[in-house]
Amino acid sequence: MAAASASSSSPSLIDTLFQRSLDDLIRVLRSSSSAALEAAAIARALDEIRREIRSPDLDTKVVALQKLTYLASLHHFDMSWAAFHALELLPSTSLPQPRAAYLAASLSFHPSSTDLLPLATHQLRKHLAPSPSNSPAVAAPALHLLALASSPDLARHLAPDLLPILSNQSSNPLRPKAVATALRVLAVCPDTAPVLFKPLVECLSLSSDPRAVSAAIGAFCELALAAPDPSPYLPLAPEFYRLLVDSRNNWVTIKVLKIFARLAPLEPRVAARIVDPVCQLLRRFTAKSLVFECIRTVFSSLLDHDAAVRLAVDKIKEFLASDDDPNLRYLGLQALNMLGPAHSWAVEDSREVVIQSLNDTDTNIRREALRLIMGMLCDSNVVDICNMLIKYAIKSDPEFANEILDEVLATCGRNVYELIVDFDWYVSLLGEMVRNPHFAKGDEIERQLVDVGLRVRDARPELIRVARNLLIDPALLGNPFLCKVLSAAAWVSGEYVEFSRNPLELVEALLQPRTNLLPPFVRAVYVQAVFKILAYSFISFIEQIQAGESLAIGNSLNQRGGKQEGSDLVAAKSSSDQNNAFEIGDGVATADKAILFDSIEKQETFKHESISCLLNLIETVVGPLSECGEVEVQERARNVLGLILIIRGTQFWNIEEGHELTRDNKITKMVELMESAFSEELGPVSTNAQKRVSVPEGLILNENLSELLDILGDDDINPCASVSFSLRNHHSTETNQDSATAIEPNSLLAEHRKRHGLYYLPMDKDKSESNDYPCANEPLLPVSHGEDTEDIVKLPAQSLIPEKAKPTKPRPVVIRLDEGDGVSSSNLSTAKESKDDMLSGAIRDVLLRNEKKPSSTHKTSSDRTSQRRENDGSENSELISQQKESNSFGDREHGKSSSRKSRHHHKERIESSGQNRDNEEKSHRHSAKSSHHHRRHKHRQRGDAPLDIVPQSPVIQDFLL
């Protein structure tokens, strides 16, 4: 190291003489076969460069810098340390040296990190100065560097130096470059607008070199697109219009169209004026880029003009029909996307192509088609289209299938399910999505299942049906993508058990043996759901007894005597044949499953028998879980067992006669307690809820918690989020944890097997390796693109357009919280916007103040020909600026006077426009320029004077008349 630094401090003559050139370096890099060799070669080269670049000999320095530039730009090595050496070379008189230095600087300098650039201010200024000694070969890279790397300060200092090049009328090749540089300088430092903007506008004039015009149009396009409010550019509309009509250069026309697409929404007359030229371009030109730009302009800004829209849609059809060019198909779909539901007829026209594009080989095209279809969704066609898409997703490849699911979920869930009318359908659609073989959207479905449950009361019965179907299917349990969904289903089944037709069956499903495949956190939800269902069943059982008892008392004692339990009295009303079947079993411990299932199948109310079976079942399965290693599961399992213990502890189990049951205070109390625990309905939580909680005193939210890191070791963090198909592994650990579950009573397993027989593999296999379970819903059809196409086209027999007649039931109530729900304001772009605002503000000042004349002058002016036009312009600008001002200040003052003023202006405009017509073109061209020249100093004076603002109603001059 010491030796290296010693040698680097004094590059020897040997170094200079035997320096490796850039070509040598490239050869060495190319000949190094492996990555390691290459890295070694680069390291050696960097060492050399560090030494050589300090050489007093400029040639050596340049070569070193070139090598470094090569390594930095192609191998991404940081070369900021060499910034100073690059600057050192700038003043050199030998042409290749500053050029190499400029190249290095423009490739590596970064506006935020390179703080050395101010050192070069003087040198840059020298290179930009229009002197014969400066060749464009140096000035051009200087401009380039300024464009890429300048800081606001540098931009401010050098902006005046751009002026001579900018206003150079001859066809100087530097002028277009200066225009582009001026654009960047403006963007970096809006303060420079007063200096730079006028010359930029002049570049648009007819007399300019076509290259300068093209560059200037590019710059204005960039400015107008970037500005949050493009209205400051409206006064330039006549110039743009002239270019639109006259220009023979497609690049320029495209840029002009972009500008107009931005301006037209501001001023309907601009739109009316450009429709014809745009349509002509659409008809006449074959250059696809230009045609496409016209289409985009029409779709974004000229939607009110039917003829233009139709023409554009025709062109789109041509695009979509071009089989050999995927670019055009892609762009066609993208353009249709801009149309939105108001023009769904356009999509309808090319429905088949759109649907077929879902099957394109190119994922981008498929995605675009999907986006388009989703954009067409409205509440009347959502059912058909979503059904179609979900069916299609089953057949498409995994990635796209999930994209479809994603889109459907996102679109249907948008804005609290605003599209959904039929929630029963939607909930069952959610259930259907889960059956997709490639399904991987567990998180979103989980969220929506719970969310719909919370928000839409009417959907709950269907929801619990869907949840039941999911829970009961043992094949789903093995799929790690589904555990989230199952967790939601379990939660739903517990929370809304009162809508279930058969709670006992739910418990069965929740406790089936394969649940030990689930991760612990889902298991915990399962156990909790069991707890809720148990509580519910028990409460309803007791209530039945109570009801029956009071009934029995009311009906006098002679009817049935004490032979039967009260519950049967109630039950008898629904199914009379059950009366006899009921006999009180004495062997509570040896539960007779048949009765339990019998009662389940007949869907009757709870009986003592079935409840006791339920208790047994739960006890057997949940019992082992109380020893489970996972605290969540263990805790909840113990809760359940505790409840069972309490129930068993009551007299309920010892006394067989129902009458005395309810006199047991303990039971009544317990029922009350459980009821109060679960009766309160859970509601959705507003996303802003957290914000409304006031911060308690003494709590410092921003306190640094970094010392916690020491306490929390790395091993405390469970990487449970990663989804991997490691069933085997997973399974084995589970069985270790609660091995007791595995040695369940055989009878239970057999029973389960009997009930869900079709999901089981042959007998022995099931026991030995349960992870060979069939994947949920084997793909019914192999993915074959060939025949799909026909299928798909057949699928949407229905149209994408909303059908008028819809005899649907009324939309159920969806609970929405405050309107701010889900709308979180993003502060991301504010910084940029404020800058843009500054820029457009500055430009507005320049453009408008320049053209403005004191009102006294223009009222008294008698010189009509060119002066008139100027007044016109100035009036426009005044009006616009005042409109802006009145917008920003609000209409707090002069409500009446403003209306009066506007009328007055209107009149004047009419009279002036009459004058104008004869000399419109000429004055068009010269007005801007002449006005600038005339009033350069005037505007400076006015800059100091306070602006007196007279609020005006927003009338904007017709620039194009």
Partner: protein, 160 residues
């Protein structure tokens, strides 16, 4: 506006990078890594546009080289394709049926040519002839300068 221009070979080697928006060195290498993964994996006969982080990347393959340009979402993709083609034609004219090796060994020339076509992410020169003329003029200037410098350094070294 064009945010950056990248040339990648089919093997993922970078042949030229030009950044018109400020990117730090670290970001640059991640961008290139992401994009080369995205673009090189696309088969032939697919469309030439890729959406990437809210931008669009227009790419086109010439022989073994992918020319990629990143643009704003409201820019015209077809226009960018034309610009790419324009650039390739100029390179072709300059080097005489250009190949990857030409760009590897004349890497700064490629930059100078690109700088004549694009400045600050905007197209500057739509005439191939004009670009060829400008580049030729610069070349001759540089050559004469080099010759002079060469002779001077010769003189100095002889003097020593």
């Amino acid at each position: 506006m064009i945010h950056f221009v990248i040339l990648i070979s089919r093997q993922g080697k970078v042949r030229l990078t030009k950044w018109y928006s400020p990117y730090q060195q670290k970001e640059r290498s991640t961008v290139i890594r992401e994009l080369s993964g995205l673009i090189l994996s696309r088969g032939p006969k697919l469309c030439n546009f890729v959406e990437w982080k809210g931008y669009k990347v227009v790419y086109r393959r010439y022989a073994s080289l992918y020319f990629c340009m990143c643009i704003d979402p409201d820019d015209n993709e077809l226009e960018i394709l034309e610009i790419i083609h324009h650039f390739v034609e100029i390179l072709d004219r300059y080097f005489g049926s250009v190949c990857e090796l030409d760009l590897i060994f004349n890497f700064h020339k490629a930059y100078y040519i690109l700088d004549e076509i694009l400045i600050a992410g905007e197209l500057q020169e739509s005439s191939k002839k004009a670009v060829a003329r400008l580049i030729a003029a610069q070349d001759s200037l540089v050559e004469t300068a080099k010759e002079e410098a060469g002779s001077i350094s010769n003189m100095i070294s002889q003097a020593i």
